[in-house]
Subunit: 219 residues, 2 copies
Amino acid sequence: MFSLSEENYLKAIFHLQRNKNEEVSTNALAHEMKSKASSVTDMLKKMADKELVIYKKYQGVKLSELGRKTALEIIRKHRLWEVFLVEKLNFSWDEVHEVAEDLEHIKSKKLISELDEFLGNPKRDPHGDPIPDANGNFLVINKALLNQLNEGDEGVFVGVKDSSTEFLQYLDKNNIALGKRIQVVEKESFDSSMQIKIENKATVNISKQVSENLFIKSI
Amino acid sequence: MFSLSEENYLKAIFHLQRNKNEEVSTNALAHEMKSKASSVTDMLKKMADKELVIYKKYQGVKLSELGRKTALEIIRKHRLWEVFLVEKLNFSWDEVHEVAEDLEHIKSKKLISELDEFLGNPKRDPHGDPIPDANGNFLVINKALLNQLNEGDEGVFVGVKDSSTEFLQYLDKNNIALGKRIQVVEKESFDSSMQIKIENKATVNISKQVSENLFIKSI
DNA sequence: TAAAATATTTAGGTTTGCCTAAAAATATAT
DNA sequence: ATATATTTTTAGGCAAACCTAAATATTTTA
Ligand SMILES: [Mn+2]
Ligand SMILES: [Mn+2]
Ligand SMILES: [Mn+2]
Ligand SMILES: [Mn+2]
């Protein structure tokens, strides 16, 4: 249906749009795609012709309904494969992204619906991100970034914003795993670092860079 | 490492070479790749530069050691994915080929070694073809095509030569499945058709086209 | 063994998805 | 409001993997 490159553009635009309906800039997209602005302009013209995106010169781009639907299909596949790799093939959560990046482009309706069922219709991937169903619907959970909580607040760690290998390995090392209960013990206004308690046991000090990449669901 | 197209060429050359060390002709390869002779000549020059093949103008082509090793890696992946699809995702043996054709190009050492283990290190794929191990070694079984047997001979059905959807579905319909014992009841010299007995029960009449595509291991 | 048939290669294009450099539009600062 | 900086687009190219048509080699046949 669509080329590998088109699919990757769709995903990138989707992620840059976030929930909002905002336009995405050529430069932002070039950065996300690790490519050049001129290449992006090229591609956006082609994708607009195919009605995958709404693009107006100098005005940025957003996904059309078709584009959004297609992006969600790819994200569904990406996240299902990540679950497969972790649950069935002993991958750790910091190893799955690269491989899923390729697997997400395999085109077979049956493959993905059977995989979904084989995995027990999981609702979230190993990083806590929601897995869209076959119609593109997914659960939006009420979560906040840890750095927005106040002293004494507590909640459950439900997702990461940054899912780079380095960050995930840092979390492993500090025993910060999905599903664990986290309490803000102290906030240092000077550098925005935080002291947190994990599962009422270990107390760790984390930098602003860490706390602004952890999603917490309040309880 | 190598492009999707290069990998498909390697596999095609491997299959056309069969066990023999014979040269493969440009035309044969074009036919196998569903492409044109001129495109094949183009590609062979590039692949020879990369030392994947040994190619001499007008003389045909064969795989280098590197080419053979790489081809076997792709075949290993193809067949492991086929097993996965049949054993874990409820695909039937006539549905797996197309999807495996794409999955075989995913590049991850860990993925394939873990998949192998997850599947219990299978030795054959759903069509009876041997699965090479990580070093490219595989079992060669002593088998013959059914049409080469004589009246009264018997053996076990261990593989198909033609693995097209149509042929596999024909076999399903006639209850001819891998592992079943087959006995030649009668051979019609006129049209080379055969009457065979399956598991000492059903007697079926099969055409030459069928019998020359079934591999039998004598017992 | 020479003509005819067939197979293979070369020449010259196309499309996709990239690139650099230059031009044009938009945004920011004075 | 104008000058400057930044962003975006256009122009012109490139490599991969195809294609058709024409040229050349090889094989077959008479
Ligand atoms: Mn991708
Ligand atoms: Mn993920
Ligand atoms: Mn393939
Ligand atoms: Mn097979």
